[in-house]
Symmetry: C2
Subunit: 355 residues, 2 copies
Amino acid sequence: MLEPGATIGILGGGQLGRMLSVAASRLGYRCHIYEPASAPAGDVAYRVTTAPYEDEAALRAFAASVDVITYEFENVPTSALDLLESLRPIRPNRRALAISQDRITEKTFLNDLGLATAPWAAVESESALAAAVASLGLPAILKTTRLGYDGKGQAKLTSPDDIPTAWAAMNGAPCVLEGFIAFDREVSVIAARGLDGSVSAYDPGENVHEGGILRTTTIPARLSPSQRSDAVLLAARILNALDYVGVMGVELFVTAKGLLVNEIAPRVHNSGHWTQAGCAVDQFEQHIRAVAGLPLGDGGRYADVVMENLIGDDVLKVPDLLKARDTQVHLYGKGAPRPGRKMGHVNRVVSGQNR
Amino acid sequence: MLEPGATIGILGGGQLGRMLSVAASRLGYRCHIYEPASAPAGDVAYRVTTAPYEDEAALRAFAASVDVITYEFENVPTSALDLLESLRPIRPNRRALAISQDRITEKTFLNDLGLATAPWAAVESESALAAAVASLGLPAILKTTRLGYDGKGQAKLTSPDDIPTAWAAMNGAPCVLEGFIAFDREVSVIAARGLDGSVSAYDPGENVHEGGILRTTTIPARLSPSQRSDAVLLAARILNALDYVGVMGVELFVTAKGLLVNEIAPRVHNSGHWTQAGCAVDQFEQHIRAVAGLPLGDGGRYADVVMENLIGDDVLKVPDLLKARDTQVHLYGKGAPRPGRKMGHVNRVVSGQNR
């Protein structure tokens, strides 16, 4: 168990790191952010290192100044992780990171665990893509296996004519073709596993994406009691299989045939931001508790919440949102809004005591 | 209205400054802490200046780096405030600070406003103390007019024999003698006033003090509807009279004859920490909103909460508290516990949706 006053190192200095640092402060810890670019998290961190992930001296100094290392960003280069891991514990562990960094590894891991995913095929050439299209049918979506997030590195195929363009758009990177799923809704489970192996999950949220970017999360999700319990059990199975420590986001498709795993994120997750309103312990504190070896919070909630992302020019609505009842506005301290840039989010409490 | 990315200067770097800085980050602001001693707030601030309040160069550099100045500590020396006020706006204003810095000025202000206080008399000598005892009766409590907090600079008198000792304990400082009040309970109103003159108050909390230090605050307080509305109206009258901008804590005694004002604190207040659980906008964010010229939050709450301070060795209970259901643990990042030192607090949600 990390003593109060200890320092937690966080790889990545975006909004997730910012909210992790704030949560760590509530528990008496300090945070040291490592980020190559500008770091909104640095505004509320004890220390910031601005250096590339290739700077061995900076990585060593960072490790020497912290007691444990975590991350808010899963695409940290392997070489940096190799070095850091030799110096300080990294939580969640490297295996979780490796699995989530590669879609093929991830899907193989999930299927081996007995969990269903959308049908998929590895694709390393245009001819392999044509074969995969023949096998999975259309429409389908082609994704690079690595470094994809928020809809980037993806191409939708609706006709065999799309094959050359879609393949060319991937620049020769290894890809995976995913068959389209007829799903009723998308939900996600934000679950945590402690250093002692205990697991705690928040109530699943129902997500709406637009253009590959999360738009809203609504709590509670429209799920039957058995679907709700299946979702949580499935997340727990993933956490246990990975000997995971920290918070994970597990995105699921709800289909007529049951729950399919879309993807996992080995970190706090945008669809868990609602926990800042209506839970005594939010996902950020839950992650810090896990990483620090503290007992997990119970995950209980005492309100219904709708979370809405503020993307690009959505921030222009902030003056009105600040006046809205029972509404929590979170801004990330980023500069000018750009299309697709996550500038903040809003948690609206739609039902609770006195409501 | 302060633009996102602006910097708020905070005089004082204790736990209140720490939680203000965190709240400011939620709204996209940065904080610069000015604190002569060690500053727990510095762990989550954009910048920290460690310098005495007499360091004119440091004060000037601080003012130059911020857009507006607020404080978490009301005993900042007048000379520092004079200089800072010439350089940047200070919110809440100097008058609120001047009034709260001197018990006689404060009681006079309140009485002039038509608000009841405990009977009191100014005391500047042992013979004046004897006269005041004769007039107000015993028991009574002698307090220095300035710099008193958490029960320091106070002496209780139960017999005329206590007069010489009590007076001697004050070291010749100007004092006020307060008559004892038979009160049913102590409550406090955490109220805010915006730059536009709008006022918003949280539901009053019921406070239990031990040895002059706040022990617990329970929401809701046991008040009749008319008492509740009187308490809020009374607080609003104080804020308006001072053309106040920010959050204020107003401590009240509930007596058979009505509400008496005990004291006012021109800042976020320990008895408002419960707002971190069960309100969309807590007192810290409310203060930042006011100081930044943003609209105030509505002050609504969606849960019942009990706040308990962790004083001195109370922190030894933290491992158990972390395991408790619906319990938020806040630690201030201070060093070793000392008797009477506020190390953290706990917000326990005792009733809300699903509870």
